[in-house]
Amino acid sequence: MNIQYLFKELYHRRRRTLTAIFSLAVGLAILITINALSMAYNKASRIPLKEIGADITVQRAGNVPEDLTGPVFACSAVTIKNDEIKQIQQLPGIDGFAQALLLWVFDEDRFTIMLGIDGENPVGPGTLRSEVIDGNFFEKGKHQALAEISYARTYNIQTGDQITIAKKTYMISGIVDASRATKIAAANIYLDIDDAQKLARESKQIQAVSPFGTKDANILFIKANSSHIEALTLSIKNILGEKASVATPASFLKSLGSLFALSDKFSLATSLIALIVTILIVLKTMAGNLAERANEIGVLKAVGWSNKNIASQLAGESIIQCLMGGILGLILSFIAASLLGLIQVNIPIPWEMSPTPHFLPGGGDPVFKTLQLPVTISWSLTAFSILLSVVVGAVASYLLSNHISQIKPSEVLRNE
């Protein structure tokens, strides 16, 4: 392969070169962008759960409380028994596990959502430890609690205050800004799960609708490798029965409803079409190039170039063109990605996962996690597309090398 000849050919036949480069670039950019978009939706669908330090949340639906006084369970989160919890905990593929207890408390003067949490656990709402904006995280066994900032404002609560909810008094150890962190299992007051369990156990309303034992809970948070999530979901549903409601990235992806989110098959099909069209364009450009240069190839043969010499020269040209097309395609993709990254997506959080009573102002309003679509082009996608473009160039020239050997050098004597 002669580099000098190669670049002169590409440079002096600019129109042809640019056509080849651009068509490859556009095809590749479509391919990359679709994949990046599909990955972005996948990533976005993991965010609501990730914010609460989990990959799966588990609840069980039950009956509506009969009488709204004192502590009750929202109908979307009733008792999950301790022995069920233990069974779930032992399922294979679980990397982290936490339980919590969500209570609605109807007092004379106010309504409070309380979440009993395991503050030491890095999985689940324990992650709120890093969102304390005033005071400290509550200490176990001291009847302390954290107040959510907007609730604290409404009722003028400050760090160090004593508040009484469901006839029990807690010291507010700090204020937490949960809205920034999570939309799942959002509460007004966060307290130790032992305290919450005590409240639940002593509540007649709760016991009437959904018997509750000392160590039971009503929300589980599970960390798991994405390859295990599907199997885990099935097993959990087996353990908890048909009322189980299991939220996973896949369920959020479904609720996003985008074409890209809806099906991997769509992205795969579009990618394949883009790829095939690209390869066809490259092949057609090169075949045209070959036909146009039949005489030139004859001359090369006449002056003593072997088929291999010629094939490698033309392969060099096509690989360089495809490589440049690949690079341009990547640049176009990065531009497209940064534009698509401006798109805001609203991921709907199902009411069940952060229940509020419908009859209260704002209760039952749809809750969304709003975020910029996290479109990024990964290194692996970058490497793949560069490799792909080079392979396309090489394969195309290999497919056409047969045509080269069919050109007869004697034809150059007859081209007047």
Partner: protein, 220 residues
């Protein structure tokens, strides 16, 4: 042995069309031979068979003691690169390459410094007296200049024989004469063997020997 080229019993047919019929001829080292005949008489076909651009249907061609019939395509290409130079009626220069790169074209597959190649090409362009156009591409050259570049290209590999198919066919009479003078000079001064096809009886008259062709046969 003083023969540079020997052909015996050559036949060439395209499908059922017999274009070269039982041709036997020899060209001596340093001889300048002209092949003349009417259009369609088979001159170009004979030249392509003699030079190894095409395989004969039957018969044998030997160049400088090497039989080139029944050789593999790649071996033939290598043989042409080492021993043969071509000059065409329509120049057949590569449009994207400069004059000197066109001259060096047969050397591209040879392992060799770029500088060495250029040196050799420039030397030949100098002999053709167009070294001042070395960096120009063919589209910027006149017909005569193009043919000088083509002759330089034919000489770049120190060939044992040059095949030229109507090298002046696309040139006006004055330029034709100049090109003929170059070929004659190469023949006289360097002792180069040349086989040239020509329509022009007048140009052919200055050759050592004339071979007449008619309907695929050598008649004298």
């Amino acid at each position: 042995m003083n023969d540079i080229l020997t052909a015996t019993g050559l036949n060439k047919a395209f499908d059922n069309l017999q274009v070269v019929k039982d041709v036997s001829l020899t060209i001596q080292k340093g001889e300048f031979v002209c092949l003349v005949g009417k259009s369609g008489s088979g001159k170009t076909t004979l030249l392509s068979v003699l030079s190894g651009l095409e395989q004969p249907t039957s018969g044998e061609v030997t160049i400088n003691g090497t039989s080139i019939t029944n050789s593999l395509e790649n071996d033939l290409a290598l043989f042409r690169r080492k021993s043969i130079g071509f000059v065409f009626q329509s120049f057949n220069l590569i449009p994207t390459l400069s004059a000197w790169e066109n001259v060096a074209l047969p050397l591209f597959p040879v392992k060799m410094d770029r500088e060495k190649r250029k040196e050799r090409a420039m030397e030949l362009l100098g002999q053709m007296e167009i070294d001042h156009r070395a960096e120009h591409r063919p589209s910027a050259l006149s017909g005569g200049e193009k043919q000088r570049v083509a002759i330089a290209r034919a000489l770049v590999n120190y060939p044992e024989i040059i095949f030229a198919d109507e090298p002046t066919g696309n040139l006006d009479s004055e330029t034709s004469e100049a090109i003929m003078n170059i070929l004659k000079h190469l023949h006289k001064q360097k002792g180069l063997s040349i086989l040239m096809v020509s329509h022009d009886q007048e140009l052919a008259a200055s050759c050592d020997r004339i071979i007449h062709m008619k309907d695929g046969e050598v008649i004298s």
